[in-house]
């Protein structure tokens, strides 16, 4: 019971992370295409400036929660994905450096260089996170020791020796890229005006079609390769409500895309949350399925901490979340409205 509560809480934190850091990763990807002048680049940076590092704290908090609630899962996945996780850290570092350093020096070499680093690392992070999700859905080669090792790639198939990159995880990575381009473009469109906003809305429409097409493909593939998904929905069919919400939200994004309000961005946020929730719902009670032998998959009961720990953790998690919600509301109110470029910062 407590294990299920923590499963939902961890899934929720991951979803909040993807929604929040997702739009600033998306802004990083799209800024190379929608922001043509230096002023426009600074507008994009300023639209995420007060938020992006706070958004990344959700990744840290999610990792910390995983460590405490599902220690066996944390140990298995952080050592099994050791190299790609380290690469994610390097990309996060480079991206932070690019955001903070770019506007300090006015030079035709310095700024375009950091813009490229910012855009490139944002795109790679979106793909990496998608590939990570793909690995969890596909399953990893856990054995009786409770650990696994995955090479970066093997033959890109899911039949023989598994790799982190295969045709399935690459499709998930590209879907994540398209979805975050859409999400980021909608954020920048909401926070800016003029030509920059128009270009964002145009890009959002294109990304929408790409995301929708990839999503249909991905849904078919996922049910094909991971039987647990089909079994979960067959066993508890009321869960179809969650993917239904995702589809409705995605349609609303397309309908609202030209509205000059927060509506398209919020619809995209609901879409991301519902999409990730439907994956979590489909995997439940697994937290990390195994392939080729599904018996070694980690479930809530085999990965969770003791019930005493989970109970104490809940007592700390709730005030922690209230604090986080408080500063979240404060910053977003403080920096609401369209960004204006002034002399200082970014």
């Amino acid at each position: 019971m407590l294990g299920t509560v923590w499963f939902c809480l961890v899934a929720w934190m991951v979803a909040v992370y993807v929604i929040l850091d997702g739009y600033d990763l998306g802004a990083g990807i799209v800024h190379l295409f929608v922001a043509r002048s230096d002023d426009e680049r600074r507008q994009v940076l300023k639209s995420i400036g007060p938020f992006w590092d706070g958004n990344e704290v959700w990744l840290l908090a999610g990792g910390g929660t995983l460590y405490f609630a599902f220690p066996a899962l944390y140990a298995a996945s952080f050592s099994g994905f050791y190299l790609p996780l380290t690469m994610v850290l390097w990309l996060l570092m480079l991206r932070g450096i690019a955001i903070e350093f770019r506007s300090h020096v006015e030079s035709p070499v310095w700024r375009p260089l950091w813009d490229a680093v910012f855009g490139g690392s944002s795109a790679l992070l979106a793909i990496f996170f998608g590939v990570a999700l793909g690995n969890v859905v596909r399953g990893v080669p856990l054995d009786s020791s409770g650990f696994f090792f995955l090479p970066l790639w093997t033959n890109f198939g899911i039949g023989g020796e598994l790799g982190i990159l295969d045709w399935y995880t690459v499709v998930v990575g590209l879907t994540a890229l398209a979805a975050l381009i859409l999400h980021g473009a909608l954020w920048v469109a909401w926070k800016t005006d003029g030509l920059l906003e128009q270009r964002c809305r145009l890009l959002a429409v294109r990304a929408w079609w790409a995301a929708a097409a990839l999503l249909v493909l991905l849904t078919v593939l996922s049910f094909e390769i991971q039987p647990q998904l089909g079994a979960s929905y067959a066993e508890r069919p009321w869960g179809y409500v969650v993917p239904a919400i995702a589809v409705i939200a995605l349609v609303l994004v397309r309908m609202y895309v030209r509205r000059p309000t927060a509506a398209p961005f919020l619809a995209s946020s609901v879409f991301i949350a519902a999409m990730l929730s439907s994956v979590a719902y489909g995997l439940y009670p697994y937290v990390l399925p195994a392939r080729p032998d599904p018996r070694f998959g980690l479930t809530i009961s085999s990965a969770a901490a003791s019930s005493y720990g989970l109970r104490i953790g809940l007592a700390w998690w709730i005030p922690g979340m209230l604090l986080a919600a408080g500063y979240l509301i404060f910053t977003y109110r403080q920096f609401s409205g369209k960004v204006r470029i002034s002399g200082e910062g970014y």
Binding site: A75, F78, S79, G80, Y82, L83, T86, W90, M93, L94, I97, F101, H104, V105, S145, F147, F148, F149
Partner: protein, 79 residues
């Protein structure tokens, strides 16, 4: 470093030995590669930091335009 070396051979004092700590599936090669990667990353950060700080010092502080003045620029010195 002092606390970690002084605690040896324990990872958690009295509970867990360092020898039973390492991840069984992470190879030494991966460990070395990421160690060098982090060293490279921090070296880059250090170089950028020194470059920007040097530039800032070179540039000097902005002139203070204050009617009331401050410790370094008493009102009498302001034109």
């Amino acid at each position: 470093m002092r606390t970690s070396i002084g605690r040896q051979p324990w990872l958690i004092y009295g509970l867990m030995r360092t020898a039973s700590g390492p991840s069984p599936r992470v190879s030494a090669g991966n460990g070395l590669f990421t160690l060098m990667g982090f060293m490279g990353m921090y070296a880059l950060l250090a170089i950028l930091f020194l470059f920007l700080i040097y530039r800032e010092i070179e540039h000097g502080p902005e002139a203070v335009h204050s009617v009331a003045g401050d410790a370094l620029h008493p009102p009498a010195a302001v034109q």
